[in-house]
């Protein structure tokens, strides 16, 4: 059976859409606003004990001995755990690239400050933390390797003795005639940039409750899992257990943004439970643990970039060299962030030739994690600075420079130099929209006036791509496996005609349960209240992955529509038998199964389901009495990459254009955002309020990354920003509220034409703000090349200029 997915809202079986495409209130919210949602830390199980983890105070040290005896003797301590247990019971952590990790508790040596060394389970969290103070560890410190460039030098001291050096991965990808293009170009521009570590910091840290049933060797974990099924599979491999003995229940969680982490905490609590005779063991990561040893840090990058440009502003080639400091191990898929830029390497531009020289290096810092956007935000910052540098030298307006290089609207689907295919786009229309909203010419005049008064005001105009609908095939170059990521749903109609959808992912904040509800209410012509979405654990859910890589909105839409169509086929047969016609003569419209030629002959979906369940005498012979259907969707047409890593990976390419006006105060280095405009095109908006919320939230994270947030390590590898006093998240005072416009260029490849939209503005905001800052600094003759452009950093830069 082949599926024809509805291409637009008009193709749904309704006369006019009532729910989809409307900003309906979220079904999640009543529970959330009353404090009733079951976050992991709200759960207490009978016999549950609490875990606390001892972390390494050293960046690099050999462990000479660990003595748990005093801790074990403390009243209330139920079990203790060290690397020896991990070695006995588990496999080393899975890493990408492979072979760059150890066990979840350090064995021979520690490789970063915060690395788990030992753990305790006790009757209260207070006692468990007391017990940590009674653990005696003898360390022999080794010189830490903190600087990425030195770490990458031949002969550098090593993070892993078993490797030849600290280079986790090195490869040059060449796409097209790069050398020739640079030789032939009228102009070549070259610059280096630095992006410092930032990260997700969802407001809820990771938490888990694990049980290891010793009688039948089954594991049960409840937790703040972003991808529960995926985590479960990993645990089966780690503990060499049959995968159907590992049950994962995802709790609703307080955000993730890719950086929830949790692999280590899950394994540690599992082994503690095993030691505690199977009692449930709870671990709630505290914020300082999250910042120093959790899924908190991403993108520690040193860039060199060059572009080849002709006199008319056309860019013919782009070269990017990246040294990405991955920290101590390659656990947790942080390396994917360095590969993902290949999905949108040349941005919105038709740059035919490109080269990516990529090196991942190990140092004694926290292993890098994924973070919203997964890697392109720093790459976009670099690319857009280069566009501005070229524009300035050629005397072109930055907006015009971009316009001259945009992929034209009539060229889609368009395959970019690095191999990904963009589905559709109207980049010039988005730019025009932003320029119009901003009153661009007037804004430039205002800037001139401000400059004449000695003020440092600048404007940035930037367009970017958000690759949507992640697929593993994008990452095979660093050792991930598989092509295609199914996302499934089971839809059931009960005897009272109510609809239940079973999914495998928990609430995380994106409003996906609402989207599922909207789609089903629309398809079957019922009210939102008639639909309920429930969570299934990994063993009872249809194949699923969950949120990640801006995929879930599109994927779950495909799944719901597929399941609804399957279910409709069954219901249609029931109606056909009742009306004594052929199934082809029956159609679903507005919740009614009607005989096409005799519209009065109609049966409601609810009644058809009730007949199936309660009247076997009326059941067609080829229909079982089950008004349920399951469908798992995956992106079509995905294959393996070619020898240069080129592949159609991300199915959709959303586009955004941001225009920012800032003022830099030369006396303090403070940046004030004066004006901000956004035109955003993510295709069909299934719930426009969801999308707007994503855009605004991602602007905030972008502002944080560009101006405030930074993980700072000192030369000894000590983290200096291990609290919210030092790692500065944006508050309501720092976040601008841009004027936003929505453009809709539907995707020709996805159900209903929606595009991945979850990462959103974080792709664009840092690049746009940095372009604006550099425009402001232009009269001073300096250029900010390091993110975050914190007051301290900008002030020093400006002082250097005038000094």
């Amino acid at each position: 059976m082949t599926f024809e997915f509805p291409k637009s809202l008009d193709d749904l079986p309704i006369s006019s859409p009532k729910w989809v495409g409307k900003p309906v209130n979220r079904v999640e919210d009543p529970q959330l606003v009353t404090g009733k949602t079951e976050f992991i830390d709200n759960i207490t199980l009978p016999g549950m004990v609490h875990c606390a983890i001892l972390h390494s105070p050293h960046a690099h040290a050999r462990i000479k001995s660990i003595d748990m005896s005093r801790a074990a003797a403390l009243l209330g301590v139920v079990a203790t755990l060290t690397g020896e247990d991990a070695e006995r019971w588990s496999r080393p952590m899975y890493t990408t690239p492979q072979g760059w990790g150890g066990y979840v508790l350090a064995t021979d040596k520690v490789r970063f400050v915060g690395e788990p060394v030992a753990a305790v389970a006790a009757t209260s969290r207070y006692i468990a933390e007391d017990a940590l103070e009674l653990i005696d560890v003898e360390y022999e410190p080794i010189d830490p390797i903190v600087d990425a460039f030195s770490a990458a030098q031949p002969g550098s001291p090593k993070v892993f003795e078993e490797h030849d050096d600290n280079i986790m991965y090195q490869r040059v990808f060449t796409w097209g005639e790069v050398d020739e293009s640079f030789q032939k170009a009228d102009h070549v521009y070259k610059e280096s940039f630095r992006w410092n570590r930032v990260g997700a910091n969802p407001l809820e840290t990771f938490g888990v409750i694990s049980e290891w049933d010793l009688v039948d060797d089954t594991l049960t974990c409840r937790g703040a899992f972003q991808t529960a099924s995926f985590m479960a599979m990993g645990r089966a491999a780690t503990f060499r257990l049959p995968s159907n003995k590992v049950r994962f229940i995802a709790q609703p969680h307080g955000g993730s943004f890719g950086g929830k982490g949790g692999g280590r905490g899950t394994d540690i609590t599992l082994m503690l439970s095993r030691k505690a005779a199977g009692r449930p063991v709870k671990w709630i990561e505290d914020r300082m643990e999250y910042l120093s040893s959790g899924g908190s840090q991403a993108w520690d990058r040193h860039y060199e970039a060059s572009i080849a440009v002709n006199d008319d502003g056309t860019v013919t080639a782009l070269r990017v060299k990246l040294l990405d400091d991955m920290g101590a191990t390659a656990e947790g898929f942080g390396a994917t962030g360095a590969v993902k830029p290949m999905a949108s390497f040349t941005g919105c531009y038709a740059i035919p030739n490109a080269e990516y020289d990529l090196t991942l290096v190990a140092t004694n810092k926290l292993p890098a994690s994924p973070y919203r956007g997964m890697g392109p935000p720093p790459h976009n910052f670099v690319l857009e600075q280069m566009m501005d540098i070229a524009a300035r030298d050629l005397g072109l307006d930055p907006a015009e420079m971009r316009r001259r290089n945009f992929i034209p609207a009539d060229q889609f689907p368009y395959i970019i130099a690095s191999g990904n295919e963009y589905d559709s786009g109207e980049y010039e229309a988005a730019l025009d929209k932003v320029l119009e909203m901003a009153g661009y010419e007037q804004l430039r005049r205002e800037q001139e006036e401000a400059r004449a008064q000695g003020r440092h005001v600048g404007i940035g105009v930037v367009s970017t791509i958000e690759p949507g609908v992640f697929d593993w095939n994008a990452y095979t170059v660093i050792g991930t496996q598989g092509i295609g990521i199914p996302e499934g749903v089971t839809v059931a109609i009960d005897t009272m005609g109510k609809i239940t959808a079973r999914v495998g992912f928990a609430l995380e904040g994106q409003g996906q349960y609402t989207v599922v509800t909207q789609l089903l209410a629309e398809y079957f012509g019922v009210e939102l209240e008639d639909v309920r979405v429930v969570l299934a654990d990994n063993l009872s859910a249809p194949p699923n992955f969950g949120p990640g890589g801006s995929r879930l909105g599109v994927a779950i839409t495909g799944a719901v529509l597929g399941a609804a169509q399957r279910l409709t086929e069954k219901l249609t047969k029931v109606a056909a038998k009742l009306f004594e016609v052929q199934p082809e003569d029956v159609e679903l419209l507005d919740g009614m199964l009607r005989v096409k030629s005799v519209p009065e002959s109609q049966l409601s979906v609810a009644n058809a389901a009730a007949i199936m369940l309660n009247r076997s005498d009326m059941l067609p012979p080829d229909v079982d009495p089950s008004p349920q259907a399951t469908f798992a969707w995956t992106a079509p047409g995905r294959v393996e990459p070619d020898e240069q890593g080129r592949v159609k990976s991300y199915l959709t390419a959303a586009n955004a254009c941001h225009l920012v006006m800032v003022e830099v105060d030369p006396d303090t280095g403070q940046v004030e955002i004066l004006k901000y405009y956004i035109a955003d095109d993510c295709g069909t908006r299934l719930n426009p309020a969801n999308v707007e919320g994503m855009v605004q939230g991602a602007v905030a994270q972008g502002v944080g990354a560009t101006l405030l947030e930074e993980y700072v390590y000192d030369d000894d590898g000590q983290l200096l920003t291990a609290s919210f006093m030092d790692y500065l998240l944006p508050t309501i005072h720092e976040v601008p509220f841009p004027e936003k416009a929505a453009l809709v260029t539907p995707s020709p490849f996805t159900p209903l034409g929606a595009k991945g939209a979850g990462e959103s503005a974080i792709h664009t905001t840092p690049a746009a703000i940095m372009c604006a800052i550099n425009d402001a600094l232009l009269p001073l003759g300096v250029r900010a090349k390091e993110v975050p452009a914190s007051p301290n950093r900008l002030w020093k830069l400006i002082q250097g200029a005038s000094g």
């Binding site: 209130n25 979220r26 999640e28 919210d29 009543p30 959330l32 606003v33 009353t34 404090g35 009733k36 949602t37 976050f39 830390d41 709200n42 969290r125 207070y126 910091n201 969802p202 407001l203 809820e204 840290t205 969680h253 307080g254 955000g255 943004f257 709630i284 505290d286 914020r287 300082m288 609430l507 995380e508 904040g509 994106q510 409003g511 309020a689 707007e692 919320g693 605004q696 939230g697 991602a698 602007v699 905030a700 994270q701 609290s723 919210f724 006093m725 998240l729 508050t731 309501i732 005072h733 976040v735 509220f737």
Partner: protein, 162 residues
């Protein structure tokens, strides 16, 4: 370990007695001892505001207070915001309508600060709202919809009951 202490307090109109270690934080008592898990913990060091509750009408951060400091006080937490019959408070309604939340983890804390604000300043300016909420962190929404929620809640509360 210091001897446990007996304390009495009122939360959402209900009187409680508890026996706690002097070192136990207020939030751990509310959540762990009294089972009022609607108050969340985001940082445990007084920066994020997720744990905000009203103590004798004032917003306090329950992660950096001790339970013993609560002896004799009258508290309001998120569980006390809707009516006992389940009718949502105008602030809650406003958050739903204006999308003042995404993951919802910060929401109870924000709502407590907003309740304090609107009790003192029923018709706040945007600057007053920002000042009242400037010490709290939401990682999801980017704050715009929270600001709108406060404006809308203020309007609802000011409107004569119909």
């Amino acid at each position: 370990m210091a001897a446990k202490r007996d304390i009495r307090l009122t939360v959402n109109g209900v009187a409680y007695e508890a026996t706690v270690e002097p070192r136990m934080t207020l939030v751990d008592m509310l959540r762990g001892e009294l089972g009022l898990t609607g108050t969340h913990v985001g940082c445990e060091h007084g920066v994020c505001g997720a744990c905000t509750v009203l103590m004798d009408g004032r917003a306090v951060r329950s992660c950096i207070m001790l339970a013993v400091q609560a002896d004799g006080a009258d508290f309001m937490t998120i569980e006390g915001l809707a009516s006992r019959e389940g009718e949502l408070h105008p602030i809650q309604q406003a958050f739903i309508e204006e999308r003042g939340l995404q993951c919802g983890f910060c929401t109870p804390g924000f709502m407590m600060s907003i309740l304090e604000l609107l009790q003192e300043t029923p018709d706040p300016t945007d600057d007053e709202i920002k000042d009242a909420l400037g010490g709290a962190i939401c990682r999801c929404t980017g704050y715009e919809s929270i600001l709108k929620s406060v404006r809308s809640a203020a309007k609802k509360l000011l409107a004569p009951a119909s």
